[in-house]
């Protein structure tokens, strides 16, 4: 996002390195290179992994997108939230119902699931974003729990048994169902990439800057004449849509969704991933999400299901070793540079 100065006389002290949005991108070309390499590795995973680890990777991606939506609120806008599971659930259940009754097309499910997540976020956010800090955290916790209890008692979506019998997704309506694990994984990856790109675009937009303004000084932003309520509500709605998209990816991967998938555990792990990865950076929390799924579901398998305990240990170590999360590793060298200049 480097913008060359068009004002005469300004270029002398600052030769074209002015950044409109300071998202900590020193060399865009290098970042793009790293992103492409990581994407290629993710695309190539089906050639190396057995079906079970691959399905785990798919779930990690879906969960990673949920974590991105939590990070948009927590890291970018400074409003830690435990309620994104509700919109994740809205997307997942909607996608499942669409899959059973309407269309097995992943695209259709993604679209409707995203809209469902965003619509529910708009409705509940209208109240929630009036608050801040610990009150906001508690209200979003209540939203998540209400969603959890709601589907738990709703027999049309299988109540506590969950929504089963969801057919495998196809990409286009009437297309070939993705029964091969690799193809299915690629679809989940595609949803993740779309959602992640949406988050990156948002982060670099004027709204993204306004969101950081809310984080750093909401009162000051209001004194500039900005209606911060609408900024927060729009951001909350978009984050809800991202969580909804994550839900559709989850359901595509597992072909099953139950109230347990939107319980407090999930909300807490999502927030934990944000902290682990480094709030405010978008890629850090995704790595945090991968780490959480890997430790809990993969390493945990070797010590007889004590994955959560192991996760607790990892978290404590991370707080000591990486106080700013995974993303903070890069930040260290950046900060050193900026203090030199």
């Amino acid at each position: 996002m480097s913008a060359t100065n068009t004002l005469s006389g300004l270029t002398a002290d600052q030769p074209g390195t002015t950044k409109l949005f300071n998202t900590g991108a020193p060399r865009p070309a290098f970042r793009l290179f790293v992103a492409v390499v990581i994407l290629l590795i993710l695309v190539a995973l089906p050639f190396f992994l057995a079906p079970y680890p691959l399905s785990l990777a798919g779930r990690a991606l879906a969960f990673g997108l949920l974590v991105v939506s939590v990070d948009l609120l927590t890291g970018v806008m400074g409003m830690p939230s435990l309620g994104q599971v509700a919109y994740f659930g809205a997307g997942a259940y909607t996608a499942g119902l669409v899959g059973i009754h309407l269309s097995s097309s992943g695209l259709v499910q993604l679209l409707i699931g995203t809209l469902a997540g965003a619509a529910l976020a708009l409705l509940t956010g209208a109240v929630a974003v009036r608050t801040a800090g610990i009150v906001f955290l508690m209200i979003t916790l209540a939203i998540g729990e209400l969603a959890h209890i709601g589907v738990d008692s709703l027999s049309v979506v299988g109540a506590s048994n969950g929504l089963a019998g969801i057919p495998p997704v196809s990409v286009l309506p009437g297309g070939e169902p993705l029964t091969v694990p690799g193809y299915l994984y690629w679809w989940v990856l595609a949803v993740f990439v779309i959602g992640f790109c949406a988050a990156v675009i948002l982060n670099r937009s004027p709204l993204g800057r306004s969101m950081r303004g809310v984080r750093d000084g909401e009162l000051r932003l209001r004194a500039l004449g900005q209606n911060t309520y609408s900024v927060k509500l729009i951001a909350y709605t978009i984050a809800g849509g991202v969580a909804g998209a994550a839900g559709t990816a989850w359901v595509a991967q597992t072909q099953f969704i139950s109230p347990g998938d939107l319980g407090f555990d999930m909300a807490a792990f999502a927030l934990l991933s944000v902290v682990l990865g480094g709030a405010g950076s978008l890629w850090g929390p995704v790595i945090g999400a991968g780490l959480v799924i890997f430790v809990r579901d993969w390493l945990g398998g070797y010590i007889e299901g004590r994955g959560t305990l192991l996760l607790g240990v990892v978290f404590v170590i991370a707080v000591y070793v990486l106080p700013r999360g995974v993303a903070g590793i890069k930040g260290r060298s950046l900060r050193r540079k900026s203090s030199d200049s």
Partner: protein, 261 residues
């Protein structure tokens, strides 16, 4: 709802009480459009509180505020700012985790562009950057626009505050102790910025530095214990007995005002 053509701010019987403490006590004051007006008074006189009420951060207990002929008493802080009534803060309150350019950019974007557009636009965002750079140039802070505000010195932060206020395209600016903690050079620079503002922008300044007050102000109001005790030209204020009583206790005229004359 009648105001004369020349007054942009018309305060009527404005009162703000916190329980039994009356911080602003029936203040009635008019500020002409384009005025350079100073508000002085001893510590705790209620100057910043009055600014808070004018800007909308605090709600008046009673009384009315007319801005530009419109009753703004019930409007929110953001609505008043959009109408052109903008303030700076006594304690710099910037977005410390964001760059200097982002700070000013937020203000530019709010007043001239689309602060809630959720995708970037090369042309529009470039225009915002250019405008922000212009404002930074006018306060003399061009050297490092991508530095984090949290890394700036106190004086530089105050300059960013001024750039942000200018970026709001104000009709009236309330400067709350703008030169507090500034070096002599920075204070001079600030005075030059205010002097270079277009005459259509009205300036009200709360200031302890009386050199600055008498350099900038064409009209001075004195607040003591929440009450407006004097209002007049700098010459009248210098010689006003009530002011000297409230402001200086018993100290002599020359001791305070001598240096500025």
């Amino acid at each position: 709802m009648t105001t004369t053509d020349t007054s942009i701010l018309d305060i009527r019987d404005l009162t703000l009480s916190f329980g039994s403490l009356t911080a602003v006590d029936r203040v009635t004051l008019r500020v002409d459009e384009g005025a350079r007006h100073a508000l002085i008074g001893p510590n705790g006189a209620g100057k910043s509180t009055l600014f808070g009420v004018l800007a909308g951060r605090l709600r008046a207990t009673s009384g009315q505020i007319f801005f530009n002929g419109q009753d703004v008493t019930a409007l929110s802080e953001a609505e008043r700012a959009r109408n052109g009534l903008v303030r700076t803060f006594q304690h710099s309150s910037l977005f410390l985790g964001m760059s200097v350019l982002d700070n000013v950019g937020l203000a530019v974007e709010r007043s001239t562009s689309q602060p809630k557009r959720p995708w970037p636009s090369r042309r529009r965002d470039r225009a915002v950057t250019d405008a922000a750079m212009t404002h930074l140039e006018s306060v003399g802070l061009l050297s490092r626009p991508s530095a984090l505000c949290g890394a700036l010195s106190h004086g530089e932060r105050r300059q960013v505050e001024v750039a942000m206020v200018l970026a709001c395209e104000p009709r009236m600016v309330l400067f709350d102790e703008p030169t507090a903690g500034m070096s002599v050079a920075e204070t001079n620079r600030f005075a030059e910025i205010v002097e270079s503002l277009p005459r259509k922008v009205t300036v009200v300044v709360v200031e302890h530095d009386l050199d600055i007050v008498f350099r900038l102000a064409e009209r001075v109001s004195v607040l003591a214990a929440g009450k407006l005790i004097a209002d007049g030209t700098p010459e009248e204020i210098r010689t006003n007995d009530a002011v000297q009583e409230a402001y200086l206790g018993t100290s002599s005229n020359e001791a305070l005002f001598g240096a500025a004359s």
